[in-house]
């Protein structure tokens, strides 16, 4: 199988064999088992669970809240990436390192501390609750938690693009009489768009699958404030494996669709950069 110039190196058969065996055992076999188990269900049974009212309510909440979180991240992430690449100021490196904090912090800790912060007596809640902004144990709280865990994606996809961006283009626009906002909207934003959409899709994908942080800040009520992974958990707790698997397959299909979208977006983005 090995061809051309790299073939002089040894160990292809051995390393490829190990890679495929380990990948098969840890990833493909269990995923395949789930898919095979589900194909033994009838369409009617599958549809009854996968598109039950409870599941549909959870899909709406999951995708809606994830969309809001990804949109928030698109705006705030663009701001952060812009400030981090364009300006030099004391503490910039610290700020830059801190952006990865949501990746490093276990999701259970994020959920625990956010729920506490936004509760009535919390550091932020004591100012927000009197203004009737309730984020602990509400849908708003779910959006907050999802925004937190997916924060780094937009920043990290935009940063390299902004660093390579030719400032001359902006200067040209300014020379031609465009204002700051006009320059940003007509020159910078179109060039950023592919990377911005990629970052948005990555953040969305992360938010859709998120579980740990949400259960701490949500009331977890079926039909009302239950996200899709919780529906799966709920069925599992009742030992209803078939129902859990049906909903899981819908989630897998959704993540697969997002994955394909991200791949297409990345291809588009790389064409823009060349």
């Amino acid at each position: 199988m090995a061809t051309s110039r790299a073939s002089a190196l040894p160990g292809f058969g051995l390393t490829m064999g190990y890679t495929l065996a380990y990948l098969g055992l840890v990833v493909l076999l269990p995923l395949g088992a789930l898919l095979i188990r589900v194909t033994s269900m009838t369409w009617a049974d599958f549809g009854k669970v996968a598109f039950s009212d409870r599941a549909l309510a959870a899909y709406r909440l999951t995708f809606g809240a994830s969309f809001l979180a990804a949109s928030l991240n698109a705006v705030l992430g663009t701001l952060l990436a812009w400030v981090l690449t364009r300006y030099r100021f004391p503490g910039r490196k610290f700020l830059d390192a801190l952006v990865d904090f949501p990746f490093a912090l276990p999701t259970a800790v994020a959920g625990l501390t956010l729920a506490n912060l936004f509760s009535q007596n919390g550091w932020l809640g004591r100012f927000l609750v009197p203004l009737d902004i309730r984020l602990a144990y509400t849908t708003g709280g779910i959006v907050m938690a999802l925004t937190f865990v997916s924060l780094p994606f937009v920043v990290r996809t935009l940063q390299p693009v902004l660093e390579d961006f030719e400032v001359e283009l902006e200067e040209a626009a300014a020379t031609l009489g465009a204002g700051r906002w006009r320059t940003f909207r007509s020159v910078v934003l179109p060039a950023l768009l592919p990377a911005l959409l990629t970052g948005f899709a990555l953040a969305f994908a992360r938010a859709v699958g998120e579980y740990g942080s949400v259960i701490f800040i949500s009331t977890n009520k079926p039909y009302v404030s239950e996200i899709t992974p919780q529906v799966i958990m709920g069925w599992l707790d009742q030992f209803e494996y078939a129902s859990a698997m049906a909903v899981a397959v819908v989630m897998l299909a959704a993540s697969f669709a997002i994955l394909v979208t991200i791949n297409l977006l990345e291809r588009w983005a790389s064409r823009f950069q060349r």
Binding site: R5, F12, R37, V83, L105, A108, G209, F216, L236
Partner: protein
């Protein structure tokens, strides 16, 4: 304009990232240092720390070995289906944690594919430590490989070919030529892999069974204490994982700087290479 944007970015990161972090420690210390120490000394919390360390000690080496071997096979050779293989290696990142746990329940649970076979031999995987290790193995599967593959691809195989021509064995070539050139990237992958292994919540929650002192990892312990309204206990346990996140972030930043230095040096050196 510049000042406003920097101010906004700093304020956002401060409120959204630093305040939640500070809140973890503040809540853990809410009833003073002795209460903090006492809750960390709880036998079930200590047991959860031990289990978390043990699970990470199982998963990180396995995925490290896989990552190195897979990177060798993928980066140093040309073969058909390479892009597909890379996508499959990345696959666990796009699967929701709860689904990641579920697939092992489908494989090894009482109603699972191998359930009756395992039951007859009195082997328990789900609701026991092996299940926790397997679920963690799945979610941390891509970390080392995805860090090494682009790095080793970028470096090509000229140096390895030279070593082989000079009479080095395959293993010697790997040990003395390839490994030193990717060591920082390798360490980077290991640190991220470890952070995720210790902090994983959703996947582990599905397969754990939540038996205090036995199958409860540190993130699950936080959930249990939170449900029992033991705020100081939950936040004390959370503070350990917050420290892990800070250490991870510190090491990550340090390694990125090292890599940048090495990269710059490598570019200066390259003209002198044959």
């Amino acid at each position: 304009m510049r000042r406003v944007l920097i101010g906004l970015a700093v304020a956002f990161v401060g409120v959204f990232l630093l305040v939640p972090l500070a809140n973890v420690f503040a809540q853990a210390m809410a009833k003073g240092w002795p209460a903090y120490q006492k809750s960390l000394g709880h036998p079930d919390t200590l047991a959860s720390v031990r289990l978390t360390l043990l699970v990470s000690a199982c998963c990180v080496p396995l995925n490290l070995v896989f990552g190195v071997i897979a990177a060798w096979a993928v980066a140093k050779f040309q073969f058909r289906g390479k892009a597909l293989l890379i996508t499959l290696i990345d696959l666990p990142f796009s699967v929701s944690p709860v689904v990641s746990g579920l697939i092992y329940v489908v494989m090894f649970g009482a109603q699972g594919v191998l359930g009756p076979w395992l039951d007859a031999r009195d082997i328990q995987i789900i609701f026991a430590m092996p299940g926790i290790v397997l679920a963690t193995l799945f979610v941390t599967f891509p970390f080392v490989a995805r860090e090494l593959i682009p790095l080793m691809e970028a470096q090509g195989s000229d140096a390895e070919q030279a070593a082989l021509t000079l009479g080095a064995s395959g293993w010697q070539t790997f040990r003395h030529v390839t490994l030193p050139s990717v060591k920082w990237g390798l360490l980077y992958g290991v640190i991220l892999c470890n952070a995720r292994a210790m902090g994983e919540f959703g996947a582990v929650s599905v397969v754990s069974g939540h038996i205090s002192g036995v199958t409860e990892t540190l993130p699950l312990r936080i959930e249990k204490l939170h449900q029992e309204y033991q705020a100081v206990g939950a936040f004390s346990a959370a503070s350990l994982l917050a420290i892990l996140a800070l250490v991870t972030l510190g090491l990550k930043t340090w390694l990125e700087r090292r890599q940048a230095i090495e990269h710059a040096r490598g570019q200066n050196d390259s003209p002198s290479l044959p």
